[in-house]
């Protein structure tokens, strides 16, 4: 699996993602500057990392979504290539309409950094193939604008097609406001597009990929992607 991590001005989880992917699946990872107009030849997975691209000054992810590299990312996605947006990367994906919805300020109106429990709701995606359905994993969150919002009718569509891949839950896997840190609709933490090749999530799997940092649930996430790409690597079909 050949991975490209896009670096926008203000990205700050780019090196973390590069470290985690190399450490867990040992694949080739290329850093791609946002001014580039092409992805490295043979890229299987594109990651838009977390951070505060352009300071998140207008709306989180808005300016990065208009960066030169995003044309190539869209083209890659259009051909069924995998795209993963984490945190600010998720915000960039919704801002560029590669994913539906929008990320609004947390219900607390403050930044929140803490470990969260997530249930894996859909294992039929290139990113979650090695998990069990309903499995509870622990990934930390660290964001100010993480409240996932979608108008009611679109939300229905998303849920009906199994687009909500991760949901905030209790350690025992039970939902509820108490376990939904930011007020996301239906406690949604991560979603996938109808074709299944674009995933956006607010929690950080790269921060849960080493025992010394307190958790390893993220390793299965990276291995899922790697195993999908090893088996062919493009996703075209509808879920």
């Amino acid at each position: 699996m050949k991975t490209a991590v896009v670096i926008f001005p203000g990205s700050n989880c780019d090196q973390d993602v590069i470290h985690a992917v190399r450490d867990t699946v040992g694949c080739e990872v290329n850093a791609v500057w946002h001014r580039e107009e092409q992805l490295p030849e043979g890229t299987g997975l594109v990651i838009l990392p977390g951070g505060f691209s352009y300071g998140d000054y207008l709306r989180s992810g808005a300016m990065a979504a208009r960066s030169p590299i995003m044309g190539a990312v869209k083209e890659h996605a259009g051909q069924g290539g995998l795209v993963l947006g984490i945190c600010n990367g998720f915000q960039i994906l919704t801002e560029s309409s590669l994913l539906p919805g929008v990320l609004l300020p947390n219900k607390t109106l403050s930044f929140i950094c803490r470990p969260c429990f997530l249930s894996v709701e859909n294992t039929d995606t290139p990113f979650t193939g090695l998990f069990e359905k309903g499995q509870v994993v622990q990934f930390p969150i660290a964001h100010g604008d993480g409240l996932f919002f979608l108008p009611a009718d679109e939300l229905n569509d998303l849920e009906n097609r199994g687009g909500a891949v991760f949901r905030y839950v209790s350690p025992g896997g039970v939902g509820g406001d108490e376990w939904n840190p930011n007020g996301s609709v239906n406690s949604i933490a991560g979603i996938v597009n109808p074709q299944g090749n674009i995933l956006g999530l607010m929690p950080h799997p790269e921060r849960a990929s080493e025992a010394i940092l307190g958790g390893e649930d993220g390793r299965l996430f990276w291995r899922s992607v790697a195993s999908f790409l090893e088996k062919g690597g493009r996703r075209h079909g509808l879920l």
């Binding site: 001005p9 203000g10 700050n12 989880c13 090196q15 973390d16 470290h19 985690a20 977390g50 951070g51 505060f52 352009y54 300071g55 998140d56 000054y57 403050s110 930044f111 929140i112 950094c113 803490r114 930390p140 660290a142 100010g144 950080h204 790269e206 921060r207 080493e210 010394i212 940092l213 307190g214």
Partner: protein
């Protein structure tokens, strides 16, 4: 000449006149007024700071540079420093705190180090005071928004509440960075014939004369008299970090200095003076945000996110191209030359000409009158017999554990990204923050601590206790202390009793540093922390850095296991003087803190390090605020495990449980390691307390609390 309106004293004007052989002009006076302010010149404390031990086998760079550096082994160094941003945070809490964080990050960056972690010292007023909510919320959000965006995790800190900070909250920011020892960038290496380059944001009217503002008491009308406050731009700072580190990697810079207080003048004259060169600056070449700025405004602007670089002419083109990549302004504003003359030109006209060494070092020091307050020793009167033991022990415990200075402060640290950069092994909420170093075995331990109440009751002992506390915490965690940084937050030095307390505190800290072999490598002094409604308590804050050889050598806290034996090591004669318990009872501070014993502290530290390295315990915690009772409660709550304790000693239980001070720690030891543990601590006071287990924490004859009850108190605080 009315020099007083520029904040210049008579003898200072005379010194300037003597050095120049003429009267300084207005622009020069404005420059000297700021550069010779307390904040920039340390004129009241320079001679006192000489008491600190600053050398040691691990010290690579001591005080005098942008930050200190200690040796982590194998060619890697840790650059660290703490700095106060108190006055700005008092009048504009959000921006004041944000720019405080930005400033300390640039101090670390200036050495060519990549900033890897921050900590914050927060001193807020009484939670019930009407201003405290607003000030604390703004300061916390400012620290978080800046650090989070710039991608430097805030991994720990210290938060204290006391009415003395009602009008004058303190913000102390700590930052640590990593640098290869052979790639340290210095501010002392400029040579004649090189270019002076300004990199980063444009220069505006923000924070002009902020340093002078920080050198007087906060007045009632601070809001009107404040200089236009600096606005932080963490996005620009992130670009600046990446650009500077890229320039360093490509060997494109000769010398570098960050721009904080007194802006261009301070940074450029420091580089000139330290490097022994002269400098010609052309202020019409400075990229400006407001077109009509006067030369003196450009000289003293404290616009944020700027660095001063010294570049060899042949590298300038490449420097410009790196700046363009990171979307930063970059301008050659002058050149270095032989000699000591520091001159400023504006559209071809010379507007200031001063010897570089005069600007930084020429201010005559001030020895303020120092006097121990006549009634000082009445503070030591403490009638223990007049203090009844708690009638309701459980209620006393709950009140202590709910004290805002005691709670874990989740509401604060969850607003900080404590994990970015993937190094945080032990983050906020723990007495020691631990970072791994990627690609290496060893870990870094960090502690940030303060105890203003003990410093108030006995500044010498309190100062020593503050330093000792950080070293104890590191030692128990298995970290060998390498060095420390300090922020000395004090009220006006012009009051003899207050100057005396400052002297005593420094003496006490220096004594502890010496005894524990933990030198001071950097620091900062913030005076005049007082308002009409009163002065702050003497508040020295200490940030100490230690090294843990490998992950196996790190001993965590809050890791009791069922069946472990609990031990208290250290003397059973703590003091209630300046304790959190007395404050939680609402009683006035009184009594005398324990005497500092260098020998006992050293002995304790060595045994604690051995305990960690030989894995003689599951869990260890140095006792601090709230004493043994608080340590038991914290460990129990974090472990999710109770304990039955019997205190088989004749001393009053409230004193043993709630007393503070001295080299003491609580350990949980698995049965199989008990003989080893006892052997390590043989010859040092060591008391078996009881056994861990169950879901209730009880101390015979005192309190009995469900572990879940303690967890609940702390869950949302």
């Amino acid at each position: 000449m009315d020099f007083s309106k520029y904040g210049i004293r008579k003898e200072e004007f005379a010194a300037a006149e003597a050095a120049l052989g003429r009267e300084p002009n207005e622009c020069e006076l404005r420059i000297l007024g700021v550069m010779w302010s307390e904040h920039c010149s340390y004129k009241s404390t320079k001679h006192l700071l000489k008491h600190f031990p600053t050398r040691g086998p691990k010290v690579v760079l001591g005080p005098g540079e942008n930050a200190g550096i200690v040796d982590l082994g194998d060619g890697l160094g840790a650059a660290f420093k703490a700095e106060s941003h108190n006055h700005p945070s008092a009048v504009a809490p959000y921006q004041g705190a944000a720019t405080g964080v930005g400033g300390i990050i640039r101090d670390i960056l200036a050495l060519g180090a990549r900033p890897v972690a921050s900590m914050d010292g927060l001193f807020f007023g009484d939670p019930e005071h009407p201003r405290t909510g607003h000030l604390s919320a703004g300061i916390v959000k400012g620290v978080g928004d800046y650090g989070n965006a710039v991608g430097v995790p805030t991994v720990g800190g210290k938060t204290v509440y006391d009415p003395c900070y009602n009008e004058n909250p303190l913000l102390n920011a700590f930052c640590i960075g990593l640098v290869e020892l052979d790639k340290i960038v210095s501010s002392q290496t400029a040579r004649p014939g090189q270019l002076v380059v300004l990199l980063g944001s444009k220069t505006g009217r923000d924070g002009i004369a902020g340093a002078a503002f920080a050198s007087v008491e906060l007045s009632e009308d601070a809001k009107e008299s404040r200089p236009s406050i600096q606005i932080g731009d963490p996005f620009a700072e992130k670009m600046l970090i990446e650009a500077c580190l890229e320039l360093k990697e490509k060997n494109l810079i000769v010398s570098m200095q960050d721009m904080g207080a007194a802006g261009i003048t301070s940074s450029s004259s420091e580089v000139a003076a330290k490097s022994g060169v002269g400098m010609k600056l052309h202020f019409d070449r400075v990229p400006l945000r407001a077109a009509d700025m006067e030369p003196w405004e450009i000289a003293l602007s404290e616009s944020q996110e700027r660095m001063l670089l010294i570049v060899a002419p042949e590298h300038m083109e490449e420097v410009s191209s790196v700046a363009r990549k990171w979307e930063l302004d970059c301008a050659v504003i002058g050149e270095t030359e032989e000699g000591d003359d520091y001159s400023i030109f504006f559209h071809g006209e010379k507007v200031a000409s001063l010897p570089a060494t005069l600007i930084g070092d020429g201010c005559p020091p001030i020895h303020w009158p120092s006097e121990k307050p006549a009634d000082f020793e009445t503070r030591w009167d403490f009638d223990l017999d007049g203090l009844p033991a708690p009638g309701d022990w459980n209620a006393a415990m709950l009140s202590l554990l709910g004290n805002p200075s005691m709670t874990p402060k989740r509401w604060i640290f969850e607003q900080y990204d404590s994990m970015v950069q993937l190094n945080t092994v032990s983050g906020p909420g723990h007495p020691v923050s631990v970072l791994r170093i990627k690609g290496r075995e060893s870990l870094i331990g960090l502690v940030f601590d303060a105890d203003p109440w003990k410093c108030c009751l006995d500044p010498f002992r309190g100062g020593a206790e503050t330093v000792a506390r950080t070293v104890r915490a590191l030692s128990v965690a298995g970290a060998e202390p390498l060095g420390l940084t300090d922020c000395l937050n004090f009220p006006s030095p012009e009051v003899p009793g207050q100057y005396w307390a400052l002297e005593e505190c420094i003496e006490g800290m220096a004594a502890a540093c010496g005894a524990l072999g933990c030198p001071v490598v950097s620091g900062n002094v913030s005076l005049y922390n007082e308002t009409k409604s009163g002065a702050i308590l003497p508040t020295p804050v200490v940030g100490t850095v230690g090294l843990i050889p490998s992950p196996e050598d790190f001993l965590p806290c809050g890791a009791w296991e069922e069946g472990d034996l609990l031990f208290l090591v250290g003397p059973c004669n703590p003091s209630l003087a300046g304790s959190l318990y007395i404050r939680s009872l609402g009683r006035p501070e009184a009594g005398r803190p324990l005497e500092f014993s260098g020998e006992a502290e050293k002995d304790f530290s060595e045994r604690a390090l051995r305990t960690a390295r030989k894995k003689a315990a599951h869990s260890g915690r140095a006792l601090a605020g709230g004493g043994l009772a608080a340590a038991l409660a914290k460990d129990s709550a974090e472990s999710g495990c109770g304990a039955r304790i019997a205190l088989g000693i004749p001393t009053r239980k409230d004193v043993v449980l709630f007393g503070e001070g001295g080299a003491r720690a609580l350990y949980s030891v698995p049965m199989s390691r008990v003989p080893l543990f006892k052997a390590i601590w043989s010859g040092y006071p060591c008391l078996e307390l009881g056994r861990a287990g169950g879901d209730v924490l009880s101390v015979g004859g005192a309190f009995s609390l469900a572990v879940s009850r303690i967890q609940e108190i702390w869950r949302n605080n």
